[in-house]
């Protein structure tokens, strides 16, 4: 199918902006609270805006309730702990803050002592929310915990793990509070231990020990565990998804035909979506020990004022066939995906037990869009 061509022919002046309203000019990251009634978004600057959505998917009906402005530079990552209701944010200003909701209804920041000399790029709360990890351009991961007698968050860098470049993404294994997977621009995905003796008695994964290491042929952009923790997936810049079976430690690399993805999200132990530079989530399904590329979830059927009918896709398909044989490029209507630029965030929105039923994506086109897992799985089969 020629549906992946759409990235080359997206024209912003044909944009159906009225159908999918833009929240900002660019979004760098977003995070939902525990019951999915509020969302924290960074509009590509040093601020974090918190919206009350009340379950609405139309961004025009959202109400901005907070503006957190303590960071000095771009906020690179936000993570909202669902149980303890704390917001963790990290920024290119080499700082991270933990925000607590005070009695007066305002978010109070506590500075985290990271002691890094480069930008903080990614941050994630552990499953039990008593510690978190921050990945940075200083080629380290800093695991932070609350030092109660000094009343601040202290960071412990994983010195024994030799990263050769920026740590781009992190993921905690959901089953225990100690195994941490990292994605780095030194072409490697490393699974390391993050046990802290003042927090955990049982040592499952010793601190700063590299448990597993996998090499890719490009920057490893994002890493994620499946809901049960059985599978570990990472996307690399050579348009390949690699999934590791954590029981056998075997890795399976699956190449896909579109531009590289920068994010991935496991919908269950059998389905995973990736999203990135091809402007649309794409689905992979597990078949025994193999993972198979199923297709894009967004084939770009949306035109301004249209409801997305199949004949418009067919005529676009014919147009590309004609271009291929005639050799000219005369494109009147571009195939419009819902996102008009790269997707840089995927977050779980609704779950049914352990499986994800709805998820959201944010992109550098400034949109925050909702996706239904079942619809994505059906659409990708076309």
């Amino acid at each position: 199918s020629l549906s992946w061509f759409s990235h080359t022919h997206n024209m912003s002046f044909n944009s159906p902006a009225s159908i999918f309203p833009v929240l900002y000019s660019v979004i760098s990251c977003h995070a939902w609270n525990g019951d999915r009634t509020q969302v924290a978004v960074c509009p590509g600057n040093s601020q974090i805006h918190v919206y009350e959505t009340n379950g609405e998917q139309d961004v025009k009906k959202w109400k901005k309730i907070h503006e957190l402005t303590d960071h000095d530079h771009l906020v690179t990552c936000i993570d909202w702990a669902p149980k303890t209701n704390r917001i963790l944010s990290c920024s290119q200003d080499r700082n991270a803050y933990v925000w607590d909701l005070g009695e007066n209804g305002k978010w109070n920041p506590s500075l985290v002592l990271l002691r890094i000399n480069r930008a903080a790029v990614t941050c994630k709360w552990s499953p039990e929310e008593n510690k978190f990890a921050v990945g940075s351009g200083a080629k380290t991961i800093t695991v932070c915990y609350f030092e109660s007698d000094q009343n601040w968050w202290v960071g412990k860098p994983t010195k024994k793990v030799r990263f050769r470049s920026t740590v781009l993404s992190l993921a905690w294994q959901p089953t225990n509070n100690q195994v941490l997977a990292s994605a780095s621009s030194d072409f490697k995905c490393r699974v390391i231990g993050a046990h802290l003796k003042n927090l955990e008695k049982e040592k499952i994964a010793p601190f700063s020990k590299t448990l597993q290491e996998y090499t890719a042929e490009g920057w490893v952009h994002d890493v994620a565990f499946s809901p049960s923790g059985k599978y570990l997936g990472f996307v690399s810049h050579n348009s390949t998804l690699t999934v590791v079976n954590m029981d056998t430690k075997e890795a399976v690399s699956v190449p896909y035909p579109s531009l590289p993805a920068t994010r991935l999200l496991f919908l269950s132990d059998d389905n995973v979506v990736i999203a990135g530079h091809s402007y649309s989530p794409e689905l992979f399904t597990r078949d025994g020990d193999n993972w198979v590329y199923k297709g894009r979830c967004d084939h770009g059927q949306y035109k301004a004022g249209g409801t997305g009918n199949r004949s418009s896709v067919r005529s676009a398909f014919m147009k590309f066939q004609k271009i291929d044989s005639v050799g000219t490029q005369n494109i009147g209507h571009a195939i419009q995906t819902r996102h008009e630029n790269s997707i840089n965030g995927l977050q779980v929105y609704k779950k049914d037990g352990d499986n994800v039923t709805e998820f959201t994506s944010c992109g550098i086109d400034g949109r925050l869009l909702f996706w239904e897992a079942k619809k994505c799985i059906d659409e990708a089969k076309l």
Partner: protein
């Protein structure tokens, strides 16, 4: 001790030369295999030509390897044939074919030898366009990011 050091340097050069010689030997074998299948089984010839790409970084070896693939590419020039053949390949073979297409388009050795009869860019681009529509831009991304490409 100095003598030992010079001996070690020599052996690494010798190792490289041995690897190149071995790769070129394999290319000769592949060339013969492809020649046998070229008339009868087009898909078999294509698959055989894409087998076992040389892992040495010697440009001369890589170009010789691309010539073997070139023989199959120039034999099948009809658009429908090309589509059928590419659809018969698996994803890995399609990636290797994309790498060989870019290597064939380099044509540097043909320019230096001034032997233009060996090079037909129209056919190479026809293969490239069809392969692109089937394998997607991902195959080009993998060609660029692959350090040890064919």
């Amino acid at each position: 001790e100095k003598k030992k050091k010079t001996l070690n340097i020599m052996s690494s050069v010798e190792k490289k030369e041995a690897a190149i010689a071995e790769a070129q030997q394999k290319i000769e074998e592949r060339k013969a295999k492809v020649k046998n299948l070229l008339g009868s089984d087009a898909l078999g010839a294509l698959k055989a030509s894409l087998e076992d790409p040389p892992k040495v970084s010697d440009l001369d070896t890589k170009r010789k390897s691309a010539e073997v693939v070139g023989e199959v590419l120039y034999k099948n020039t009809d658009k429908d044939d090309i589509e059928k053949l590419i659809n018969g390949l698996n994803t890995k073979e399609q990636d290797i074919l994309m790498q060989y297409l870019y290597r064939s388009m380099e044509a540097a050795h043909i320019i230096t030898n001034n032997d233009w009869k060996q090079y037909n860019s129209a056919i190479l681009f026809r293969w490239h366009a069809t392969l692109l529509s089937i394998a997607g831009v991902g195959s080009i991304v993998r060609t660029i990011s692959n350090k040890k490409s064919a």
